[in-house]
């Protein structure tokens, strides 16, 4: 049995941990004090780079590398903390904001010190009223205690944190969408480059980090890089010669929901499998796992053949899926995949920001196709391939066999791949929302094709058994290309 490794969530359930005094009892702000007393800003940036910390918001981009792109000579530089947690299946940031907001403030302070930042905006999604209230109260306390404001703790640093409420748009979780929204406009993502690190909010260099990423910083500084890198696997990227280390270090706040007995947030070292995670979350509610979404609703689905895929950034990328924000949704044998896809496509059709034509038109189109299939009006046709031979009447003639063509499934794949092509990983949209639409659409359809075909054939939703509904691994496009990477240590 795998045990939880609580680091970020260690003191989450301590009563009144949201107040300064209690937080202080549990080493609160000592890591920040250590940072300013013992290290230069460049040392902190180097530690973050060496720790191998990858951004926890979704893209999994190296935090240290992101910081290295920020020009040091252009001031002011801003930090935007992304607390616009809207990815279906993800709910770990909410608990940090509501229960332990001082941890986030400490993370922000360390980031500000390392990058020479004076102003931080925490973009909180509009629905998090309690989270915003708790964070605002914590920020007020931190100002009173001299950890924020002018001349922080007599060091000469000036650091301000402001909360900024969103207003219910999913796309504002995309970093450039967030920046646009923060500037008081529609949250429509920008073309990149220039990347926010060079030209972000108000035209200045901007570091955009997720809440969970920032909450890792106090522990990296407090316990050291060596301690941090012991957690989680480090793979060898054998595409480079000599192989370069590909770290998946640290813990992840895995959010597990759907058909498990004890849904919730579990903090575990990166690199465990779906089967293990389901076990940690009190086991499956139901008889059999039909499918697992490994990283929020945008991530390509995993079939029951792929449950041994390790839930870390590298392994899931190799399995043609992604860890994303760590929102794991489990579905048991009673679930209909067509129905699930319909739900997700309704979400994306509603949340498309409308900036790029392929996404604005394509996403509702995909939704309508899935709706049509779910309603039992899926289109199919039969074609006969001509073949000369002895026909039934004993004469020479056409003996062609008829074949059923599921037009709507081809159309679904074609429309989705024209928003963003999942095979070539190229998108015809400004931001990666396009790929977040086509990834589920194409992967559900390819991996659970029998269930889609059955719905079209029977004219109604048919829930097949797990074995019948799933495309076998030898025909599964993603499974074929999958390989489990060797541990770097084994090399």
């Amino acid at each position: 049995m795998i045990e939880e490794k609580r680091i970020l969530y260690e003191h989450l359930d301590v009563p009144d941990i949201n107040t300064f005094d209690v937080f202080r009892q549990y080493d609160g702000y000592t890591r920040f004090e250590k940072a300013i007393a013992e290290y230069q800003p460049e040392d902190i940036a180097k530690m973050v780079m060496d720790s191998g910390l990858k951004g926890r918001g979704g893209a999994g981009f190296s935090t240290g590398l992101k910081w290295s792109f920020v020009p040091r000579d252009i001031k002011p530089c801003y930090l935007c903390c992304n607390a616009d947690e809207s990815e279906p299946g993800t709910f770990s940031n909410r608990y940090v904001l509501e229960k332990n907001p001082h941890l986030l403030i400490e993370g922000i302070l360390i980031c500000c010190y390392a990058m020479g930042i004076e102003t931080t905006y925490v973009y909180i999604r509009g629905e998090f009223t309690l989270g915003k209230k708790m964070l605002d109260a914590a920020i007020k306390e931190a100002y009173e205690k001299g950890y924020l404001g002018k001349d922080v703790r007599g060091t000469g640093l000036n650091i301000d944190i402001y909360t900024h409420p969103g207003a219910g748009a999913y796309i504002c979780g995309e970093e450039t969408g967030l920046i646009e929204s923060l500037e008081g406009k529609r949250g429509q993502p920008r073309n990149k480059p220039p990347f926010p690190a060079v030209e972000g909010v108000f035209g200045k260099p901007t570091v955009v980090q997720n809440v969970e990423t920032l909450c890792n910083l106090p522990f990296i500084v407090g316990n050291g890089v060596e301690w941090y890198t012991q957690m989680g696997p480090t793979y060898a990227d054998t595409r480079a010669n000599p192989p370069t280390p590909d770290p998946n270090t640290g813990t992840k706040l895995y959010c597990i929901s759907g058909d498990v007995n004890e849904p919730g947030v579990y903090e575990l070292e990166l690199g465990l499998t779906s089967t293990e995670l389901i076990e940690v979350a009190g086991g499956l509610r139901g008889e059999e796992v039909k499918a697992v979404i490994p990283g929020g609703s945008s991530a390509p689905i995993l079939t029951h053949y792929e449950l041994d895929t390790r839930l870390d950034f590298t392994s899931l990328t190799l399995a043609k899926s992604m860890l994303g924000s760590g929102g794991i949704i489990v579905m048991n044998e009673t679930r209909n995949i067509v129905d699930c896809l319909l739900n997700i496509m309704k979400f994306y059709a509603h949340e498309s920001c409308g900036q790029c034509t392929p996404c604005r038109w394509g996403t509702p189109w995909v939704r309508d196709i899935v709706q049509r299939i779910a309603d039992g009006n899926g289109r199919k046709s039969t074609i006969t391939r001509p073949k000369f031979g002895v026909a039934e009447n004993g004469r020479w003639g056409d003996t062609g066999e008829t074949e059923e063509i599921y037009e709507d499934l081809d159309l679904l794949e074609s429309v989705a791949n024209n928003i963003a092509n999942v095979d070539t990983m190229t998108w015809n949209t400004i931001c990666v929302f396009g790929i977040a639409v086509s990834w589920p659409a194409v992967s559900y359809m390819r991996k659970f094709r029998p269930e889609f075909e059955a719905a079209i054939r029977e004219g109604k939703l048919v829930t097949l058994s797990v074995a019948e509904a799933t495309v076998p691994p030898e025909e599964n496009y993603a499974y074929q290309q999958r390989f489990v990477p060797k541990e770097f240590a084994d090399l």
């Binding site: 993800t90 629905e127 207003a167 999913y170 500037e183 759907g258 849904p263």
Partner: protein
């Protein structure tokens, strides 16, 4: 947009408390326009919904055109351009909640309130005759571990069943 084009029902201005909150807000950003979302939240809290007069007032305060405010208001689902009930009930219906039978909760609410579900362009459809409740479906509320969930104004209610919904409505 010129003034003649805006039909102003009741002129709008921040009350004393909100004016103070607004003054604190505006100092946080290097440009005034950036205070758009928090300002609109404040205004909506005071006025109930974003009327043309509110938009005009906000535009004046932030020194931008009314069209720019309208642009933002129409983009974000949390801003209402029509009157809503005293209690806005948001029912999450995205996948994790759907897997935990949010439809039962939604159907129960529909039956109990005797109203349909509001759409973004027609809030009146989901508002009860006495203007007490507005029922709407929303996308993921980031509480999938305690699904199904609803939000009543600013409060989140978890692990719902029809019985719990009755209890919540009775206590409002």
């Amino acid at each position: 947009m010129s003034d003649e084009l805006i039909q102003i029902e009741t002129p709008f201005a921040f009350n004393e408390e909100n004016q103070r909150a607004f003054d604190a807000l505006i100092g946080r950003y290097p440009i005034k326009e950036a205070a758009m979302l928090p300002t609109l939240h404040l205004a909506q809290k005071q006025a109930g919904y974003i009327t043309p007069a509110v938009m005009k007032y906000v535009a004046e305060q932030l020194e931008v055109s009314v069209m720019k405010v309208k642009d933002v208001v129409t983009f974000y689902p949390m801003f209402f351009e029509e009157p809503v009930g005293e209690y806005v009930i948001r029912v999450c219906h995205t996948l994790p909640c759907a897997l935990r039978d949010c439809k039962v909760v939604l159907d129960h609410l529909k039956e109990k309130l005797g109203t349909d579900v509001a759409s973004e362009t027609n809030l009146a459809k989901g508002t009860t005759a006495d203007s007490k409740f507005t029922l709407m479906k929303v996308e993921c509320l980031a509480s999938c571990d305690v699904a199904p969930v609803i939000m009543v104004n600013d409060d989140l209610y978890k692990n719902l069943t029809p019985e719990k919904v009755d209890e919540i409505l009775d206590n409002l």
